[in-house]
Amino acid sequence: MSPETINLTLKVWRQHGPEDQGRFITYQANDIPTAASFLEMLDIVNERLIVEGQDPIAFDHDCREGICGMCGAVINGRPHGPEKETTLCQLHMRGFQDGDTIVIEPFRARAFPVIKDLAVDRRALDKIIQAGGFISVNTGQAPEANSLPVPKSNAELAFDAATCIGCGACVAACPNASAMLFVSAKISHLALLPQGRPEAAKRALAMVAEMDRLGFGNCTNHKECQVECPKGINITNIARLNREFIKAAVSSPEEIPVFPAGRPEALQMGAK
C-alpha cells in the first residue's frame, strides 16, 4: 500500500435542482491518498466542505462494491471513469496523476433529470421494467424447479445479460441517450430462458414502446454503451432485442402499444 497522496483540481458540476441551470465549480483537492476510491476522494472533499460550512457535493452511492448500480458520474467525459468494466465506486485514485484536473459531471440524458449535482433521477429505468421486464408467475404457482431443464449455454448467456446493474451508464454514454443496452439485457435474459418465452413477444413490444415514451433515443450503433458498461454487457443483446422485436411485430398477434404524442413523461416527474 503506498501512503502516497496527490493534489488534484476538480471541476464539479453543481446544480441545486432540476430547474437550476447548473455550473462547474472548481475545487482544489489536495493530499488525496492514491489508495482511496473515487467516492472516498469525494468523501474527503465533502468532509472539508462541511467543516468549512459549505454545501457538500451530492452524489448517489450505496454498496461501494460495484453491484448495486447506484453510483455513477461522468469522469473526464466517460461514465464511471476511464477503467474498463469498473463502476465509479471501484475506480481508485492511483489511476490519476499528481496535478491532474478531473471533470466530474452527472449522467446526462433527457430521461434522467438532475436531482442535485451528480445525483440523477433514473426512475425511467424502473418504468421500462414495469412495462414487461418480468415473468408473470404468482407466488405459489411454480412447478418443481428441475421440471424444466435449461441448456447450460443458454443459462449462462441469460446470466451474462442478467448481470446488468441498472446504473444507466449506457444511456449516459450514448449520443442518443438510448436505453437499448439496458432494455436488451432484460429482454435477452428472459427470452433465452424457456420460462420467459410465453410472454416474449408482448415483452419486447411493450418495453421498447415504454422506452420511446420516456424520452430515450434510439440505437444508431455507436457502441459506446458496450465500452462503458461496468458489467461488460455485450451489444449482441441489442441484436437479440431487435430480432425479438421484429419477430413480435411481424408475426405475433400482440399489438404494438401506441402512446399519445407529447412531452415525454420523464421530464415531468420532478420530485413526485
Binding site: 491518498p33 453491484i67 415473468i135 412447478p143 424447479a145
Partner: protein, 638 residues
C-alpha cells in the same frame, strides 16, 4: 413485556400446517379493502410486497434508494440453501433444520427454523419460475455446491452474484405489481416514525429525500424489512453505506421489543483498512482459505516486506493453534485469532490491523494457472482495490462486521410486540440464533416475504378489530411534530463536526470494545465512550443546508443519531448475556481451549429489550428457548 411466541403445539413437521389452518383468512373480495405498508425492498421487503399484492392487498412500498433494485441484498455473493437433496447426498428438511439450529449455537427457536427449512424448497421452485439464472449442469438441471462447512451440497448459486439475481427476481415481481396498480412504489423515502393508534401499528411518517417533505402514510398493518445494523461498526463492516438501524430503532422507541442485539456476525476475510478515509470494507469470499495460508511475523512490529521475512520467522498461527482445522477454522475462531495477533502488535500493513493470506505455497504446489482458475476474479478484485498483485505478494485480510442475527423480536407469525407491526428478513431476530450459516440469509429473507407473511398477515387482519384511521388522525400529527422537532434540533446544534465523523468514531468504539472478543471492563468502558460521543454529537454536530431539500448530510445525521442510541443497547445486551455463544464471545466464559462456553442452564433464552423512555435503562425480558426435538451439544471444531 408479554412475549408469547405463539408457536403451535404438536410435532415439528406439522406445526406450520397447523398454523396455516388455524390462522383466519381474508376472503378474496375483502383483501382489496386492506392497505399494507412495506418498508424496505431487499429480498424480504420486495418479495413480501409482490406476494401480498398478488393476493389482492393494496400495498405501499418504500425504500431509501432511488429504486428498489439497489437494496443491499444485492451484494450477497455465495448462494441460497434449500433442502432439495438433488445431489442425493443425504440432505433432508430435518438436516437443514438441524444444521441451522446447531450453527446458531442453539439460540434460535425450533419451530421457526424447521419452518424455514420446510419452505426452502418452494423458494427455489419460485425463483426458477421467475427466471433466476441459477448455475446449471450440462444436462440443463440445477447445480449445487457445498458451503460453510455443511456436509451436503445444498447451495444454489448464480456465480458470485446470487444475491443480485435473487433481488432482481423480487424486483421484477414487484415491478409487475406496480404495473398492475397493486403496489404504489415510493423510492427515496426514509421512515422516521411508526404511528400507533389504539396500540396498533397504523402507519408511518417518512421524509421524502428529494424534496425534504415530511409525509404521512396510513395503513391497516406495517411490515418492516429494513435490514441489519452492521453499520454500527462502520467502517469495519461490509454493509452498504445506506444500511441503517433507523426504522427498527424508531419502532423500538414506539414499543417494539428488540431481541439479541449483541449477536453480530464478524466475517474473517475482508480487505483491511488502509486509511482513515475509508468508508467500508469489501468481503473476499471465504473460499480463499481453502488454499491460502494465514500468517503474521513472529516478531511484533516487524516492518519488512512479507517476501523478506524468512519461513522460520513467520507464525502460521491458525495451523499452530488449531492443527486439525488450520486455515479452515470456523469464522468466529478465525476472526478472533486475527484480532488477537494484531492486538499483540504483529498485525501487518500500514495500519497494523491485517494479517497475511499467502498463496505462495499453493502456487508452488498447483501452479499459477490452477490458482487463477479457482480464484481469478477474486484476485482481480483484490488488485483493483489494493493495487497489489496477490500472485506476487500475500494478500492482506482482516475481519469485518457482516450480518446482524439480532433484530426486532417477532413471534411465530413474524409480528413484533406491537400488534400490526410485522418484521421480516435481517431486521428481525428469528432464525439464526447466535450465528448465521452461509447461504442462509437469502433463504430467510425470501421465506419470510414469499411464503410466511402472506399467511400470517391475513390471520392478523381477519382476526383483529381495526377502526377507520387516516392520515389526519392526531397520532400522525403528533408523530410528524416529533419528527420535525428532531430534525430541527439537529440543525440547531451548529457545531463543527460532520455526522460522518461521528459515525466513524462510533464504529471504532464498537469495534474495539464490543467486537469479536468482549470483556466486561471493555464493555463498560465502551458504553461510557458511546454516551460521551452521543453527548458530543448533540453539542458539536454541524449540518449544512436545510431540511426542505435533497440533503444527504441530514440523512446521515439522522441515522447516526439513531446508531448512537442503539449502540448502547448492543453493549447492554452483551453485558447481560453471561455466556459465550456463537458470535458473542465474552472472555470470562471460555473453555480451556479458549472456545465459546455456553451456559444452557441460565442463558438459554432470547434477550428482549423494551424502551423505557429517554434517560431510563431499557427493561429486560426473556423468552425461554425450549428444545423438544434436538439435544443441546457443544459445537466442536476439533
Amino acid at each position: 413485556m408479554q412475549l408469547d411466541a405463539k408457536i403451535p403445539g404438536g410435532p415439528l413437521e406439522t406445526k406450520w400446517d397447523r398454523q396455516r389452518f388455524e390462522l383466519k383468512l381474508v376472503s378474496p373480495a375483502n383483501k382489496r379493502k386492506f392497505h399494507i405498508i412495506v418498508v424496505g425492498t431487499g429480498l424480504a421487503g420486495a418479495s413480501a410486497s409482490a406476494a401480498l399484492a398478488e393476493l389482492g392487498y393494496q400495498v405501499k412500498t418504500f425504500c431509501i434508494q432511488d429504486t428498489p433494485r439497489r437494496a443491499h441484498s444485492i451484494a450477497a455473493q455465495g448462494g441460497i440453501n434449500a433442502a432439495k437433496n438433488y445431489p442425493n447426498d443425504g440432505d433432508s428438511i430435518w438436516r437443514l433444520f438441524y444444521d441451522t439450529i446447531k450453527g446458531g449455537d442453539f439460540r434460535a427457536r425450533e419451530g421457526n427454523v424447521y419452518r424455514l427449512a420446510q419452505v426452502s424448497n418452494l423458494i427455489i421452485d419460485h425463483c426458477v419460475a421467475q427466471g433466476i439464472p441459477f448455475a446449471r449442469e450440462y444436462g440443463g438441471l440445477l447445480a449445487n455446491r457445498s458451503f460453510g462447512g455443511a456436509q451436503v451440497s445444498r447451495t444454489f448459486y448464480a456465480k458470485g452474484q446470487t444475491g443480485q439475481q435473487l433481488l432482481l427476481g423480487c424486483y421484477s415481481a414487484l415491478s409487475r405489481q406496480v404495473a398492475a396498480g397493486q403496489v404504489t412504489m415510493l423510492p427515496r423515502r426514509e421512515m422516521l416514525d411508526l404511528v400507533l393508534v389504539n396500540g396498533q401499528a397504523r402507519g408511518i411518517v417518512v421524509r421524502n429525500l428529494i424534496t425534504g417533505a415530511i409525509e404521512r402514510h396510513a395503513a391497516h398493518a406495517v411490515v418492516l424489512a429494513t435490514g441489519g445494523y452492521g453499520n454500527v461498526f462502520q467502517p469495519f463492516t461490509t454493509n452498504g453505506m445506506g444500511s441503517n438501524v433507523g426504522a427498527a430503532w424508531r419502532a423500538y422507541k414506539r414499543g417494539a421489543g428488540f431481541a439479541n442485539p449483541c449477536f453480530t456476525q464478524i466475517h474473517p476475510t475482508c480487505i483491511p483498512m488502509h486509511g482513515d478515509y475509508q468508508s467500508k470494507l469489501t468481503l473476499m469470499s471465504e473460499s480463499l482459505r481453502n488454499d491460502g495460508r494465514v500468517w503474521v511475523p513472529k516478531q511484533a512490529g516487524d516492518q519488512r516486506r512479507p517476501e523478506d521475512i524468512p519461513e522460520d520467522e513467520r507464525d502460521y498461527y491458525l495451523e499452530r493453534i488449531y492443527p486439525s482445522f488450520g486455515n479452515l477454522s470456523p469464522r468466529d475462531i478465525a476472526s478472533r485469532a486475527a484480532k488477537f495477533q494484531c492486538d499483540q502488535g504483529k498485525g501487518v500493513g500500514a495500519t497494523g490491523r491485517a494479517v497475511y493470506l499467502d498463496f505462495a505455497a499453493a502456487i508452488k504446489r498447483l501452479g499459477r494457472a490452477e490458482i487463477e482458475a479457482r480464484y481469478g476474479n477474486l484476485f482481480q478484485m483484490y488488485e483493483k482495490i489494493t493495487g497489489e498483485d496477490p500472485y506476487q505478494t500475500p494478500m492482506m485480510i482482516y475481519p469485518a462486521s457482516h450480518y446482524a442475527m439480532g433484530g426486532l423480536w417477532v413471534d411465530y407469525n413474524l409480528m413484533s410486540t406491537i400488534p400490526g407491526l410485522f418484521v421480516l428478513g435481517e431486521a428481525n431476530f428469528s432464525d439464526h440464533g447466535a450465528n448465521r450459516l452461509g447461504a442462509s440469509a437469502l433463504m430467510q429473507g425470501l421465506a419470510d416475504g414469499y411464503f410466511i407473511i402472506p399467511y400470517t398477515i391475513g390471520g392478523y387482519l381477519a382476526g383483529t378489530a381495526l377502526g377507520e384511521v387516516n392520515e389526519s388522525h392526531q397520532a400522525f400529527t403528533d408523530a410528524e411534530m416529533e419528527v420535525n422537532a428532531k430534525i430541527n434540533r439537529l440543525f440547531q446544534i451548529r457545531g463543527s463536526r460532520s455526522a460522518a465523523s461521528f459515525q466513524i468514531d462510533l464504529g471504532h468504539i464498537m469495534w474495539e470494545y464490543c467486537g469479536m472478543s468482549r470483556n466486561d471492563a471493555g464493555l463498560q468502558k465502551g458504553k461510557q465512550l458511546v454516551a460521551d460521543l452521543r453527548q458530543e454529537f448533540w453539542e458539536n454536530l454541524t449540518l449544512p443546508g436545510s431540511t426542505g431539500e435533497f440533503n444527504q448530510s441530514l440523512e446521515k445525521a439522522s441515522r447516526v443519531a439513531d446508531f448512537l442510541e442503539f449502540a448502547e443497547l448492543v453493549i447492554s445486551d452483551a453485558l447481560a448475556r453471561r455466556e459465550s455463544c456463537g458470535c458473542h464471545f465474552n472472555e470470562a466464559f471460555q473453555t480451556e481451549e479458549k472456545e465459546a462456553k455456553r451456559d444452557d442452564a441460565q442463558m438459554c433464552h432470547v434477550a428482549v429489550w423494551e424502551y423505557a423512555g429517554e434517560g431510563h435503562e431499557p427493561i429486560f425480558a426473556k423468552e425461554p428457548l425450549v428444545f423438544e426435538f434436538v439435544k443441546l451439544v457443544e459445537r466442536s471444531y476439533k
